[in-house]
């Protein structure tokens, strides 16, 4: 250990209690930051995954007007062929075509307005969790069958069960009257009331026949294995659909702007809070280091009289803060990481969370996820601000005159 490092370390422990208190302030905010950032990132990932995996997928190919104005006539021609082409080009089977329309569904006793989605039964389960959520009956299988899968709440409201028939009334793509009778193949339960009450699925080929869509659909849904590869895949898809300028490939941020914005809004309020914590720690460091410089004025005067340059002394002070901040960083990251790990395993809960969780497609417990980023990011900023806070006391040393300093009490 170099002598200056040893000197800095010993100086720190001249006021044990003060040093520990300052380190504790750092540890306190670091632990909080590590846990909160890990929780945030974990929650965001879950929010994105749950929302995208449930239904919308990571990327969708649509008619360029459809996203802003989802009208039945803004459709994709030759959709099944294009889907096959994309599957081939992307080397993935998590590509599936859909169509969508509104209709009035009537059972013997009840009628409700619902959204009907035409899906490809063979590939839909690769892009959506709904097929896996069928609790009664089965999911769709025959691509031509005149059958339907509905949500649990809708089944209850329509007072129907698996095997019953529903009459659908709507309008086709050409504005004509669309009517059909379908058999209920299965009932799914996603836990999201809006979905369970308002959305049903049927085979795409039958959908096209019912709503006069003739090999057309509204979206080709693509699931990307890793969120970070979305842009890359989007580019590949754009290459494939270049020849059809009326088509667009939209990523999840464009499809679900609310999701990203909710995350942004949450992030900004969180960062406001983190910022305050970090500033308060910086004040703590400033206070400690200024005191430490002031009480050693005499000592510094003597060392300067002996020929030490103020720059060296300033470096000593900065080094002392660096050591203190490193201690805070180390302990903070460690404790924060352990706490995060515990909750990552057992989940984090606070009262009133279920109701909020449902709004964002989240389970009723949150699982923080510790990563290098989430553990180190906050504490590194605390470190940086601690070093900034020490600049004032360190710079004071440049204006110290040895004679005055030695005279100081």
């Amino acid at each position: 250990m170099s002598i200056i490092l040893r000197l800095a370390w010993r100086n720190l422990w001249r006021h044990k209690r003060r040093t520990w208190l300052t380190v504790s302030a750092m540890v306190f905010s670091n632990v909080l930051l590590v846990f909160m950032i890990s929780l945030q990132l974990g929650t965001y990932k879950m929010m994105i995954d749950n929302t995208l995996n449930a239904f919308s997928g990571h990327i969708q190919v649509q008619h360029h007007l459809y996203n802003d104005d989802p009208k039945i006539r803004y459709s994709i021609p030759e959709i099944i062929q294009l889907t096959g082409q994309l599957q081939h080009a992307l080397g993935s089977d998590a590509v599936s075509a859909r169509a969508s329309a509104f209709a009035l569904a009537s059972s013997e006793q009840r009628s409700y307005g619902i959204q009907i989605i035409g899906v490809q039964p063979q590939s839909e389960f690769k892009v959506s969790t709904i097929p896996g959520l069928v609790k009664e009956g089965r999911y769709l299988s025959d691509p031509y069958a005149e059958e339907i899968v509905i949500g649990k709440v809708l089944a209850r409201n329509l007072k129907v069960k698996v095997g019953d028939e529903l009459t659908l009334l709507g309008s086709g793509r050409d504005g004509s009257f669309a009517a059909g009778i379908v058999k209920i193949a299965g009932i799914y339960e996603s836990g999201l009331t809006d979905l369970d009450r308002g959305m049903v699925e049927m085979p795409l080929l039958y959908f096209q026949q019912l709503f006069v869509m003739e090999n057309q659909g509204h979206a080709i849904v693509v699931n990307v294995p890793d969120l970070f590869e979305v842009n890359q895949w989007q580019q590949k898809i754009i290459q494939q659909i270049k020849v059809q300028p009326e088509l667009l490939a939209l990523n999840w941020m464009e499809l679900q702007p609310g999701l990203l914005q909710a995350i942004q809004a949450d992030m900004s309020s969180a960062w406001f809070m983190y910022g305050i914590l970090i500033i308060l720690v910086a004040f703590s460091v400033l206070n400690t280091q200024l005191m430490s410089v002031l009480e050693r004025t005499r000592e510094f005067g003597i060392t300067m009289a002996l020929g030490l340059k103020p720059g060296k002394l300033a470096r000593l002070i900065i080094l002392e803060t660096g050591l203190m901040a490193s201690l805070g960083l180390l302990l903070g990251c460690l404790i924060g990481f352990l706490i995060t790990l515990y909750y990552q395993r057992y989940g984090f809960y606070y009262p009133g969370m279920e109701e909020m969780a449902i709004k964002f497609n989240l389970p009723d417990r949150m699982y923080p996820s510790a990563s290098w980023l989430s553990v180190l990011f906050g504490p590194l900023i605390v470190y940086l601000f601690s070093m900034l806070a020490t600049l004032y006391p360190a710079l004071r040393l440049y204006f110290l005159r040895p004679v005055d300093a030695m005279r100081a009490a």
């Binding site: 009208k71 009537s106 009840r110 009628s111 409201n157 990203l260 914005q261 720690v281 703590s284 005191m291």
Partner: protein, 410 residues
């Protein structure tokens, strides 16, 4: 003999400014902390208040009466008879600001271009005016005029979806009590706007009697909505209505009608408390440090004062008072800064950049900070009490110094 307060006050006050740099840094920290507590709380309160106000407006009302099955199955078959005499008496009491009866059923609306599933609400336009503000947010055309109006008012966003506009005709389709499809052409007379777009897209208004006639439901209704005096305290109102309403009905306050909104209010109270305590904890290390340093520097004086006959309690109070001055000055400036920074924002902070995200949380895109006196008091009291508790340790240590050791300390 107890040391007079005046002596202690003078000593504490002058000692506070001896190391003015340290005092200023600590004051700055307390000020920032106090400002952040109140500022952030006001923003969050503002957001939740708006959410609740919007939520109550779209529910609408503070208390609603339904058929017990209606909420799970909002069908025309789960409707109520018109209010009984007994209920009407209860609705005339002072604690009811306004009330209205509505028909509210799922339906499908079709224009020439497209169709959508929506909620058809049959209202009494006159009574509705004092419950919701839809009438004030008409962007085009007019609102409904009376119970017999034949027009239809839809959201501006829905009009866009359906490619339609005021003056055009649309078809509304629903079921009657016998599950026969009932449909009828309506002329759109007005478009309204709402803070949350989803609401504009899924709710349409027609006159109550027109809807009752369309659905062949006589004078049956889906719900009675009641507006009380204060949304924070609806339990008495709920009880009064409950005892007057028919037995086979469900009377619920807004917190239970929309559990998300209900819990938001509680979660908010919890958040305010946790936020204040977290900020305080971040401050407490610096506070403890400052006092420990102050005690450390003044050991000799402490010994001297004890030698001269000041009791240990006098020393204790002196340091506690010094901490108290530090806390109150910091809090004072922080409070003023918070109020001064919130006042100019009270006309609303524009968050339209993240509007769709706010909508997901159930909030509008303009944030109106809400400064609650109770929150300010809570923040100040917590900081003072916890702050004095923190100072107790160094102050107590100071009072326990042995005068001989203290004086001889070099």
């Amino acid at each position: 003999m107890q040391t007079p307060i005046k002596t202690i006050t003078i000593l504490a006050w002058r000692n506070l400014w001896r190391n003015y740099r340290r005092t200023f840094i600590m004051l700055a920290a307390i000020t920032v902390g106090a400002w952040a507590m109140i500022f952030m709380t006001a923003l969050m309160r503002g957001m939740v208040d708006e959410m609740i106000k919007d939520g109550i407006r779209s529910l609408p009302g503070h208390v609603q009466i339904h058929h017990p099955l209606y909420r799970d199955d909002p069908s025309i078959t789960n409707s109520l008879s018109a209010p009984s005499k007994q209920l009407l008496t209860a609705l005339k009491q002072d604690d009811v600001i306004a009330w209205s009866t509505r028909v509210r059923v799922p339906a499908v609306i079709s224009s020439e271009r497209d169709s959508r599933g929506i909620i058809l609400v049959g209202i009494d336009p006159v009574a509705e005016r004092s419950i919701t503000n839809t009438a004030d947010n008409i962007s085009e055309g007019r609102f409904l005029t009376d119970k017999l109006d034949n027009g239809l008012v839809i959201g501006a966003a829905l009009a866009k979806r359906l490619d339609t506009q005021p003056g055009k005709r649309v078809v509304v389709m629903s079921q009657d009590p016998d599950n026969e499809i009932a449909d009828r052409g309506f002329r759109i007379v007005g478009l309204y706007q709402a803070t949350i777009e989803a609401m504009e897209e899924n709710t349409i208004y027609a006159a109550r009697d027109t809807v009752q006639k369309l659905l062949k439901m006589g004078d049956q209704i889906s719900e009675v909505v009641i507006l009380g005096k204060d949304y924070r305290d609806v339990s008495t109102l709920t009880e009064n209505i409950k005892s007057a309403a028919a037995n086979d009905t469900e009377v619920l306050p807004w917190q239970e009608l929309d559990t998300y909104l209900g819990t938001m209010l509680k979660v908010m109270d919890g958040f305010v408390f946790v936020w204040i305590v977290v900020i305080f904890l971040a401050l407490s290390f610096g506070l403890a440090n400052t006092l420990i340093m102050a005690v450390f520097e003044r050991v000799r004086e402490i010994g001297l004062m004890q030698a001269l006959g000041m009791r240990p309690s006098g020393i204790l109070y002196q340091f506690m008072l010094e901490a108290f001055f530090l806390l109150t000055i910091g809090l004072g400036i922080g409070n003023i800064a918070a109020v001064a920074s919130i006042k100019p924002l009270e006309s609303g902070i524009d968050l339209s950049v993240v509007a769709e995200g706010m909508a997901m949380m159930g909030a509008g895109s303009t944030l109106y900070p809400a400064l609650y006196i109770s929150d300010i008091i809570l923040a100040n009291i917590i900081v003072i009490i916890l702050g004095l508790l923190t100072s107790l340790v160094p102050a107590w240590r100071a009072s326990r110094y042995d005068p001989v050791e203290a004086i001889t300390k070099t």
